[in-house]
Amino acid sequence: MGNHSDGSPNPSGAVATAGQEEVEKFQDPGLPPHRLRLADTDPKAAKRAERQVAILFGISVIGTVVFLIAYFAIDLGNDSSIATIRTQNLLLGLGTAFAMLGIGTGIVHWAKALMPDHEVSEERHAIRTEDDRKAAVRIVDDIIEETGIKRRPLIRNSLIGALLLAPLPALAVFGDLGPRPDRKLAHTMWAPQDGKLKRLTRDPDGTPIKASDVTIGSAFHVIPEGLNELHEGKLNEKAKAVVLLMRLNPESLNPSPGRENWGYNGIVAYSKICTHVGCPVALYEQQTHHLLCPCHQSTFDLTQECKVIFGPASRPLPQLPIAVDAEGYLVATSDFKEPVGPSYWERDEHERLINS
């Protein structure tokens, strides 16, 4: 190309207005001449296209038959295996696909090869005419005049007032969609009941955990004692109360003042609900002592009281204070000292309430 190139951008000053000032332009040559297809000139080709269309429709018939056979011949009894279901799904799908694609490709082929392919030009009409506009304006003026709304501001203003208030019942009627939050988010099942401390039990079977079962490096998914016996709101309680229990070398834990006796012998328990948006923080990296949330990759450092070291969470995971009861089982000495899970507007208020 080299020396041919002269298509550099025009300096912006060269054209004063937005292209309205006409530089001489190429004339529209009009629609290109129509080119005949093979099927237009050769009767043999037309006949061939006709047969192809018919074959495609025939394929559709085969597809429908395949579907019906797969539906009626494969029996999903009580002992049907996943393999049977997959086979049936495949055959039903292929049957439908051929039934539909046969018709679809047949019709399109028919349209492209045999129906006239002359492009037609049609004039566009104005979306509205000036006559219509004038008439419409006159009608609107007449309507407004006949209502007299301009001359009677009392009617107008009282109507506006009434209309503004009228939707309120429509909003109020949704007031019973749910209870008010109150302080439900501030508490979990871990609070001691009638002076009895709750044992830490395994998720999901609910067997209590002995401190001696927890070896260094191990991790347990924990639910509070009595959760499985709940009939109402079991998942609601579980959604707040799930805990991760891990044992580290006690030297690698650095409890802050006031939290020294929240663990036992290097065993610590933290809320499993991410402080970001509430996914379960289910991944424990034993070597680095990191907890990772698989949803958004918030990472918490167990050796720094589950401080956030990476990802979108902003708060450490709440710690559950634990101890050992007379029989050697792990128990929670109190509820969490702060609300668990994602932050919410009243959270700070609730935290102060818990600690007061």
Binding site: S80, G93, L177, C274, C279
Partner: protein, 557 residues
């Protein structure tokens, strides 16, 4: 309508079909409708099919969805699974999950219908999005179609809402965690967040109300509004008539294409079956949302590599990209004793907010900058509107960075790179990606325009090297015929529009701003080749043209 019939002799149909159609016609006036639409002209182009795909996948969604409602039970009551999928036998679960399993394993064709429904939902949002990209990049949103563009944007949001409400219905572990994320985001809303959460879930998360409520939204409210919007959308398409790509014989005053009957109706109708067939093929061969692998919802477990459906990905990705803590700076504050959690609130609302605000207002922004109040029925080729194309690609890149971030863990595991590095890179790209994309796209568009000019003026390269008598080597260029040339030169190249004083002779501040934007929009531009330039080019390359002409002759036997 025989020639003998006159006004006072009523028309009498001679055949059975004729009598029947006449009966209907005399009562509803179908002739008028047929006269208007029977031969209505529709332009044809492959890129016009995306909207059709969206429409057809919606029809398939209605068909397959209706089947599913006959078997699905949206109750969250507890039950124990007794169906034929043995790994979950006797497992405690909700009735909703139980009935989803039954649809999959104990209703013949149920799994197929679930797969068809899910695949067409994914395709519906995808084709709608691609259709909107097509409309944006070709400038089809310009006057008189701005309102239809807005309807399209509303449809996109509704499609996402329909998708998400449906995705949650089986009450499986994966979708339950998705709901939990939504709950977390809702709780981050200042002042009313907790209340909205309690109202939505009928109490604490997860409660026993949410599936039933989402079900009503999913099968009644959202599809009804979608249907209404589609009707409005198509009505406006009829009012406006379809846009057409530039080319010889096409201008803003006409519409060139095939008549509705028979060619266009056949192609479009046949295409419905093709879309259905392709969806059936996907449903047959590719598993989607195997809920039996996830298990019932339980707030404790979660599987690694969790992903939302693709169209929610960009919001999830934004949530992942936002750091919660930078050094010792926390994005969660206590404001007057209340918790404000910007690390959730900002990424959940701001990027999506910006995307949709720009999307909805763009037609008016461009109209304000260009002061262009004319009707446009001929599309722009994307290269001929370099700045608009660059804006579109920048926005698309931004979206894609967030979307990729929703798979940051999978990127890390598949490419064996550190998860943290993937996040750091994507954070950088979140800000730099759109800028780079803008610059690169604009340059590419301008380069393509120059290439068009080059070809219009000098013909296409034939790849034949010829040695001239005096020893010079040249490549033979074949001139274009006038139709092909018009495709390359038949566009309007707008130039910056300087600030103009208003009727009081004052150049307002907003007018100055507009002029600055206009300059930014149009200062880099390539004007279409003009006849005078072609003349000059011919004088320059006269011998080449002759050579090429002779060449062509020798090729055509």
């Amino acid at each position: 309508m025989s020639a003998s019939s006159t006004a006072d002799v009523p028309y009498v149909a001679k055949t059975k079909v004729g009598r029947f159609t006449n009966f209907v016609d005399e009562r509803v006036g179908g002739s008028g409708i047929l006269r208007e639409f029977g031969r209505k002209v529709f332009p044809d182009h492959w890129s016009f099919m995306f909207g059709e795909v969206a429409l057809y996948s919606f029809v398939i969604l209605l068909l397959s969805g209706t089947f599913l409602t006959f078997f699905f039970d949206p109750s969250m009551a507890e039950t124990h699974y007794q169906g034929s999928y043995t790994p979950l036998y006797n497992v405690e679960m909700s009735v909703a999950y139980n009935s989803s399993l039954n649809i999959s394993f104990d209703v013949r064709g149920g799994l197929f219908m679930r797969q068809v429904h899910h695949w067409s939902a994914l395709l519906f949002v995808a084709s709608l999005s691609v259709h909107m990209l097509r409309v944006f990049f070709t400038g089809a949103f310009r006057k008189p179609r701005e309102m239809n563009w807005v309807v399209g944007g509303v449809l996109l949001i509704l499609a996402m809402a329909a998708g998400f409400t449906g995705y949650s219905l089986p009450d499986d572990l994966l979708s339950g965690n998705g709901l939990r994320i939504i709950d977390g985001v809702i709780k981050s809303i200042p002042v009313i967040g907790t209340y909205i959460s309690f109202f939505l879930f009928g109490g604490e998360f997860p409660g026993t109300a949410i599936i039933g409520r989402l079900y009503v939204l999913h099968i009644l409210l959202v599809p009804a509004i979608i249907l209404l919007m589609i009707v409005i959308h198509l009505f406006m398409v009829v009012v406006h008539k379809h846009t057409q790509y530039p080319g010889p014989g096409r201008n803003d005053g006409n519409v060139v294409g095939y008549p509705l009957g028979p060619v266009y109706a056949a192609k479009a109708g046949g295409f419905f079956f093709i879309v259905f067939g392709v969806i059936a093929l996907m449903a047959a061969a590719f598993t989607i949302n195997p809920i039996w692998n996830y298990g019932p919802y339980d707030p404790s477990p979660v599987s690694a590599g969790t992903q939302p459906d693709w169209y929610i990905g960009f919001v999830d990705g934004a949530l992942r990209l936002m750091p919660g803590v930078v050094n010792d700076f926390h994005f969660e504050y206590i404001v007057f004793g209340h918790t404000l959690t910007l690390n959730v609130l900002l990424p959940a609302l701001v990027p999506a907010g910006i995307l949709f605000t720009v999307l909805f207002t763009y037609p008016w922004i461009e109209r304000w900058i260009t002061k262009d109040d004319r009707e446009h029925h001929v599309l722009d080729r994307p290269r001929n509107a370099p700045t608009r194309t660059a804006i579109g690609v920048a926005g698309f890149t931004w979206y894609c960075v967030m979307w990729a971030a929703a798979g940051s863990d999978l990127i890390a595991t598949h490419f064996h790179v550190a998860l943290n590095d993937v996040t750091y890179w994507l954070r950088a790209l979140f800000f730099l990606g759109p800028i780079l994309a803008f610059i690169v796209t604009k340059r590419v568009a301008l380069a393509l325009q120059r290439k068009d000019r080059e070809i219009a003026l000098h013909g296409r390269e034939t790849g034949r090297i010829v040695r001239l008598p005096h020893g010079e080597f040249i490549e033979v260029h074949a001139p274009l015929d006038e139709y092909k040339r018009y495709r390359l030169v038949g566009f309007e190249s707008l130039a910056p529009l300087p600030a103009v004083p208003n009727e009081h002779g004052v150049v307002t501040r907003s007018e100055k701003r507009r002029a600055a934007l206009s300059k930014w929009f149009f200062e880099d531009r390539v004007a279409p080749a003009s006849p005078a330039e072609l003349e000059a080019a011919h004088a320059h390359g006269h011998h080449e043209a002759i050579e090429a002409g002779a060449d062509q002759k020798s090729l055509t036997h």
